[in-house]
Symmetry: C2
Subunit: 322 residues, 2 copies
């Protein structure tokens, strides 16, 4: 993983500096919200993937930051609206924005970041890039809606779960990779391979995220352990666990989750059972399949530093602890 680490260490300051400068350019009422969500860290996976694909496909100019950072801001915008609507209290170990800055500021900051991201993507005069970004925004909005709809009527349907994680996470990561390819003027085949890598990586990323929610301590992730369960979110670890349970027990649990009637004791009990059953580990095994699919897409790229780093990034998704 040395190449991956070196690459991130080299490029992250530029990406963070660009993000900070864009946040600084926003209007007073929302600037602090933007600073808060951007400054709270995050792995900058989306901008890095755009950069890596652009360079892997021969792009050698230094003006990649606007489109790369657009993807990060888009992601930040959805976090702001999601956290407000979910009434989340914590984001990346810090108080959620709506609790610090208020409802109006948070909603409008989400709108402004979305608008800014879009404008940054349009700076290149590249119609393909605009189209990809527009579609990415659309798919992310739809994914967000479907996730909330699903949480109002939770089921143990794996197909529905997959559709939701693709919509809310994987499509935007696919978009980041495609944008890198489009910036480099890639062929449709090359762009599709970049997209396929991103889609599979995104699925694996979310599967691991959902596993971490069950098996990683809050001190590591910055999120409360078992948070999904408490918030009534049905994810793969729970689905795998319930598949081995009595049907009646599953229905009862779903009803309690839907009606937000799960007590702290019941939560702790289900959490312990899911952990004992090893469902988080089985979720990681599924993620590993998608990581392999992602890596297979790299064969189309010319060998070089970026291809190596993209391979290591895929492996890192499986081993990350936060």
């Amino acid at each position: 993983m040395n190449e991956l680490l070196r690459y991130f260490q080299r490029e992250l300051p530029g990406i963070n500096g660009y993000l900070d400068a864009e946040a600084e350019s926003l209007s007073g009422l929302v600037r602090d919200v933007a600073r808060h969500i951007i400054g709270s860290g995050g792995k900058r996976i989306r901008p890095m993937l755009t950069l890596l694909h652009a360079r892997a496909l021969g792009y050698d100019r230094d003006d990649f930051h606007a489109i790369a950072c657009a993807l990060e801001l888009l992601h930040s915008a959805t976090l702001l609206h999601d956290d407000y609507l979910d009434e989340a209290e914590i984001r990346r170990g810090r108080a959620a924005s709506h609790l610090v800055f208020g409802r109006t500021e948070t909603i409008l900051a989400g709108d402004a970041l979305l608008a800014l991201a879009n404008e940054m993507g349009a700076r290149y005069g590249n119609a393909r890039l605009c189209w990809l970004l527009a579609r990415g925004i659309m798919e992310t909005a739809v994914g967000e809606i479907e996730e909330i709809q699903f949480s109002k009527h939770p089921t143990l349907d794996r197909e529905a779960y997959m559709r939701i994680i693709i919509g809310k996470t994987a499509r935007l990561i696919e978009c980041a990779c495609r944008c890198g390819a489009a910036l480099a003027g890639a062929t449709p085949e090359q762009e599709d391979a970049a997209g396929e890598y991103g889609l599979n990586l995104g699925i694996a990323f979310q599967l691991v995220d959902d596993a971490l929610d069950y098996d990683s301590p809050a001190s590591e992730t910055g999120k409360p352990e078992g948070g999904d369960l408490r918030e009534g979110k049905v994810t793969l670890p729970l689905i795998l666990f319930m598949e081995d349970c009595e049907e009646v027990a599953g229905d009862t649990l779903l009803t309690l989750m839907r009606d937000s009637e799960l007590t702290d004791e019941q939560c702790a009990e289900v959490l312990a059972q899911v952990q004992d059953a090893g469902s988080a580990g089985r979720t990681r095994e599924e993620a590993a399949v998608y990581v392999e699919r992602a890596k297979a897409c790299l064969a189309l790229l010319p060998p070089g530093e970026e291809r190596t780093v993209l391979g290591q990034a895929a492996d890192y998704v499986l081993t990350r602890t936060k």
Copy 2:
């Protein structure tokens, strides 16, 4: 105004049909919200301006609906978020969406309509169109933020007022006109003239809107009379009225408005005073200046039906009663 009426009667069914079909394509949770806000009427000024400018500059294809309707959906998206944040109860004579469908559905519908609008604009593979739309979205978001910021610290500053109505209304109308020109492959000079027409028309439109709030009965506008005053919004009729009052009276009123402490009786009294002083009429006189500026921009267009209609549309802004 015969040409204007005929043009609208001929083109509105196509525009409304396209809007309905796009709303129908949205995900379940937000579809009803989109139907509600789109179906509640509205003058469709933005799509008509896009169409008129495109055709005036020689565009003869029938695929203008996506970009024209994108502007309307963008406008609808901002109404949804604005009404929720303002806690507005009425929109176009109907209950505001958040009261009918709830907070989550309304915020997400706004996000989805914004995303959809953006995607519709990207369908042409025209980078200039994408850039214009992206900038229009950005300017509208900034305008929305500045308006809310201003309402938290209201002043009788005309410059601040003008900046706000340009941001929240006129820039998007400018954008609609520029998009029509860009669709037709206009020269930069032609696009600038279209933009200048739209900017001035948009300013006039908002000035008249603010006058109507003081001098048109609720039965006509579908909004409660004196609503701006009650909501603490400082607009030109009030600024003009206060310029003739004692400074102390103005400061007291502003403080009451900012703290939402204006009683119904005080509201009714100020409303009557503003009406008696003829401030709404003086606001219309200012609007007339911008209407003339807008009409002057039409000289660059070739004579024809669209140029006539654009001239009549500018005049109509002054005479409308809702």
